[in-house]
Symmetry: C2
Subunit: 489 residues, 2 copies
C-alpha cells in the first residue's frame, strides 16, 4: 500500500478548522465526511468548541486520541506556523499522519513573500516526517467506494450511493449513478462546479474518485493519475489542466493510461489573455497550447473545449460501447435539429455519414409514418413529427441492426402527445443493459425540463441521454477519435 | 389593419381536428388556446364529438355559428380536399375567415405528387377567397399580449403571463417573464424546442410573439418580420432559417429592422451534409452558407451557431443595455472558470480587455480579501474563493463605476458558505432596475441546479444570469458587434 492510498482510504481523518457555523467552509468538510458515510473516526480540531456537529472536538492535533492518517487543513493560512509545530509534536508522539489535504488558500498562489514562506513551512515539516501534501488552495478528495469526502462543496445532494432496496420504476433524483468516472483538477472551483453539474443531470451522477490538487506543492498530476491507472473501478479519467512543468512526464503517463482507459482533458490557456490569467492563478505557466495539444493528442488523450463538453464526453466514454467503426447515421424526429446535428458532423472528419442498407431502408418504409423521409441526404432519415412511441423504438432498432451502420445519433423534440413513460420503457427494453448490439446510440431528447421524466428513466437504466445535438455529435466525434487511436496501437 | 393582424389577434378561432384525446395534437391546440386565456370564441370542429373539452363542437366549418377569422387545421392531410370544399361553402355564406394556420403535415415537404397536389388545393381555395395561409407543416402562432396560442406544444408551464398581485420576495417558477422577444422559425420542432427551453430557464421566459412558418406556401419570413417590425413591444427578433428563395428581399428587410431592433439568426446548412438535410426538410434550398453569412452580417444581423447561443443572445439583447464601448473586464471568484472565460474572449476581436483605472484598483485593494489578485493579466481580477457576499457586491460595484470599463463579465462558483438569498438581494439592489450605470453586466453563476435560487431571484428582478462562461462571453461579443454596427450607421 503506497502512502498515497491513505489519501483515498485513510484510517481516521482530522479536520483542523472544523466549525459549527454553516457560513464557514470548515462546517462542510465535517458535514460532507459524515453525509458520505465515512466509516472511520472523524476528529474535528477547533480551539474554542468542545463539540462540532455532535462529534467530540479537540483543541489541537496533539490532543487527538486515536489513529489519524489524513489531516485536512481548513483554517486561515496565517496559522500554518503554529499548526506545523503541533504537527511535529504529534508526529514525534504518534507518527500516524500520512497525508495532508491543505484546503486553505493564501500560499504560493499569492506570488508574494509571505505566501511562499507559508508554503515552504508546510512542505518542510511534511518532508521531514514523510507526509505527502495535496494542495494548498484545493478542495481535496472524494472517494465513492471508500466513502471519503474532504471537500466543502454542497451540491444539494447526498454524496453517497444509495444503499438497500431500490423502489421499482422511475427512481428518485436522490439516487446517484456510479459510473467509474474519476477526475483530477488543478482548480478547486472547476472541480466543485463539476460536482454540481454531475449532480444536476436528470439522473445525478457520482464521480468515482475526485482530487483537486491546487498549487501542487507536492502531490501532482502524475501521482493522482497513477493512482487512477491502478484503480480497477476507474473506467475513464477527466483532467482540468492549467499548466504543468513536467509536460514530458505527463505525456508519457497519459500514453500508458490511454492504452486501456480514455482520458479527457480540458486545457485552458488557448489565447494569450487566457494563458496570462492562468499564470496568475495557481502560479503555473500555461505553456504553449499548441504544444500541449499536439503532445496530448499523440498520446491518445481527448481534448475538449468547455466544461459541458468535458461532462458529456466523460459520460459517453463511461456509458457507451466504443464504436466498431466510423459509419454513422442521424435519425431524427425533428427536422430542424436533425439538420443542425448533420451540420455539426461537418466539423469532424472522423465522422463518416453512411446510408442504411437497402434492407434497412425497406424496413423503414414499412414501419415509419408516410411523411418520413430518407435517402435525400447521406446518413440521414427524418421519421417526422407523426412518429409514435412504437415508431420511435422501431427506428432505433432498424438502424442498430443495420450492417452498414456503426453509430446512431437519434434526436427527438418530444411532442406533448407522446407518453414519456412509454417511450422510456420501449427504449430501455431495446438498449439496456449496455447496448447489446455493441453499437453506441447517442440519444438527444429535447428540450429543457419538459423531457426530464424520460431522460431520468433512461439514465436510471444505465443509458445515456444528451441535452443538445451538439453535445451528442461532439461526444460521437471524440469516441470515434479514441477508438481509432486504440485500433492503431 | 392588415389581413395578417387576424393571425395574431383573431376574432374567433376554429380548430379543425380538435380532440378530447390527449394522445392527439388536436387536443393541445384547444387546451393551449384556453390555458392562454384567449378572450374570443373557440370553435372545435370534430365529426364525431358534440363537445370538446367542455366546449360545443361542430361537425364541419359551415356549422360554426359565430364570426371566425382564424382557422387552425390539425386533421390528417388527406382530408384537405373535403375541408377546402367546406371552407368554400362557409366563405360563400359568412366570408369571415382571414387566415389559416395549417399545422397538419403531409404536403409539399413530402416532395411527391400527392403532397404537391394537397398543398395546391389548399392554396387555390385560399387565394380565391383572399385568405392567407401559414404553413403547412408548422405549429402556428403564439401572441402573449392578445392571448392567442395555436400550437400543440405542452411545455409544462402555463403559457400566459401572471395576472393580479405578485407575492413579495422570490417568485414561483410559474411566473413567466415577458421580455419583448419575438421569434419566427422555419421548423416547427425548433420553435417548440425554443418554447420548452425558455420555459426551463431558472425564471421562465415567455416569448412575445412566435410564428412557425413551416413550408411557407404563402405567409413567409418577410410577412412575419414586417409584423414584428411594426410591433412596439417587440424589442428583439430571433430567426431559425433553413433556406429562403428571396434572399435579397430578406436582407433588405433585415437591414431596415436592425436600425432599431437587433435580429439574431440561427442559419443551418453550414456543411454540405447539413445543406442536403435542410433541402429534404421544408423543401427549401439552403443556399451557400457563406453567401447568407456575408449578406446577413452586412445588414447588421447577429449570426449564432446553436440553439443555446440563440437563447442566451436573445436574452442578452432583451435584458441588457447596449454597451457604451468595447472595454471589457473579467471579474471572477473562480480562478478556473475566470481563465476559461478569458480564453473564450480570444475568439472575438471585438472584445477589448482593459484594466481598471488606478483608482479602481485602489478601491479593490481596500475592499477585497487578501488573496484576491489582479493586474497580472489585462482586464482580469480574481477576487478569490474567500470573497464574502459583501465583497461579491463590492467587486461588481467597483468595476461598474470605473471609467475605464464599459462591460463586465462576473463569474462565481457559489460556495456553500455563501447565502444565495443575501447575494441575490445585494446584486439586485445594485443593478435593478435595468443596469442604472448603462453598462451591461454578464453574470455567470455556477453551477447546475444548486444555484437556481439566486439565479431565479435575480431574473425575477429583470436581471440576466448565464449558466456557463461561454454563454456570457459569446453574448458579450454579439452585443458589442451589434452596438458597433449601430454606431456605424
Amino acid at each position: 500500500m503506497s502512502v498515497l492510498d491513505a489519501l483515498f482510504q485513510p484510517t481516521g481523518v482530522a479536520v483542523l478548522g472544523a466549525s459549527n457555523n454553516p457560513d464557514k467552509a470548515g462546517y462542510y468538510v465535517v458535514k460532507n465526511l459524515r453525509d458520505m458515510g465515512y466509516p472511520g473516526e472523524i476528529y474535528p480540531v477547533n480551539l474554542r468548541e468542545s463539540q462540532i456537529q455532535g462529534l467530540a472536538s479537540y483543541p489541537n492535533l496533539v490532543a487527538i486520541p486515536g489513529m489519524c492518517q489524513l489531516l485536512v487543513l481548513i483554517m486561515p493560512a496565517e496559522a500554518i506556523y503554529s499548526v506545523m509545530a503541533d504537527l511535529a509534536a504529534r508526529m514525534e508522539q504518534q507518527g500516524d499522519i500520512k497525508v495532508i489535504v491543505c484546503a486553505a488558500s493564501g500560499f504560493a498562489e499569492l506570488e508574494n513573500e509571505e505566501g511562499f514562506r507559508r508554503q515552504e513551512c508546510l512542505l518542510e515539516t511534511a518532508r521531514h516526517w514523510g507526509i505527502r501534501v495535496v494542495g494548498p488552495n484545493c478542495i481535496g478528495v472524494i472517494d465513492q467506494e471508500n466513502k471519503v469526502n474532504t471537500t466543502f462543496v454542497d451540491n444539494g445532494l447526498p454524496l453517497h450511493a444509495p444503499t438497500g432496496e431500490q423502489a421499482p420504476g422511475v427512481p428518485s433524483t436522490q439516487e446517484l449513478r456510479p459510473l467509474g468516472i474519476s477526475l483530477v483538477s488543478q482548480s478547486g472551483s472547476v472541480a466543485a462546479m463539476l460536482l454540481m453539474l454531475t449532480a444536476s443531470l436528470p439522473q445525478p451522477v457520482m464521480l468515482r474518485k475526485f482530487c483537486s490538487i491546487g498549487n501542487m506543492a507536492d502531490v501532482d498530476f502524475i501521482d493522482i493519475l497513477e493512482h487512477y491507472e491502478q484503480d480497477e473501478g476507474t473506467k475513464v479519467i477527466g483532467i482540468y489542466l492549467e499548466g504543468y512543468s513536467q509536460g514530458r512526464k505527463l505525456a508519457e503517463t497519459l500514453g500508458r493510461i490511454t492504452v486501456t482507459k480514455p482520458v479527457v482533458v480540458l486545457k485552458v490557456g488557448r489565447s494569450e489573455a487566457g494563458a496570462k490569467a492562468a499564470a496568475s492563478h495557481t502560479g503555473s505557466l500555461a505553456g504553449s497550447y499548441a504544444v500541449y495539444e499536439a503532445a496530448l493528442r499523440q498520446k491518445g488523450a481527448t481534448l475538449v473545449h468547455s466544461m459541458r463538453e468535458l461532462v458529456y464526453t466523460l459520460l459517453a466514454f463511461a456509458c457507451l460501447p466504443l464504436p466498431p467503426g466510423r459509419n454513422s447515421f442521424i435519425m431524427t424526429q425533428t427536422g430542424g435539429m436533425g439538420i443542425f446535428a448533420t451540420d455539426e458532423t461537418g466539423k469532424y472528419p472522423q465522422i463518416n455519414l453512411a446510408n442504411l442498407t437497402s434492407e434497412g431502408e425497406a424496413r423503414l418504409r414499412s414501419a415509419m409514418p408516410p411523411m418520413a423521409t430518407w435517402g435525400r441526404a447521406v446518413g440521414y432519415a427524418d421519421i417526422s413529427v407523426a412518429a409514435s412511441v412504437k415508431q420511435h423504438a422501431a427506428a432505433v432498432e432498424i438502424a442498430l441492426n443495420d450492417a452498414a451502420i456503426d453509430n446512431l445519433v437519434f434526436l427527438t423534440v418530444l411532442p406533448s402527445f407522446i407518453s414519456q413513460e412509454e417511450l422510456g420503457i420501449a427504449w430501455a427494453h431495446l438498449l439496456a443493459p449496455a447496448h447489446p448490439s455493441g453499437k453506441p446510440v447517442y440519444m438527444v431528447i429535447l428540450a429543457g425540463g419538459y423531457v426530464k421524466q424520460v431522460r431520468r428513466f433512461l439514465e436510471s437504466q444505465g443509458l445515456l441521454t444528451f441535452e443538445m445535438p451538439e453535445d451528442a455529435v461532439t461526444a460521437l466525434a471524440h469516441m470515434l477519435g479514441y477508438a481509432e487511436y486504440r485500433r492503431g496501437l
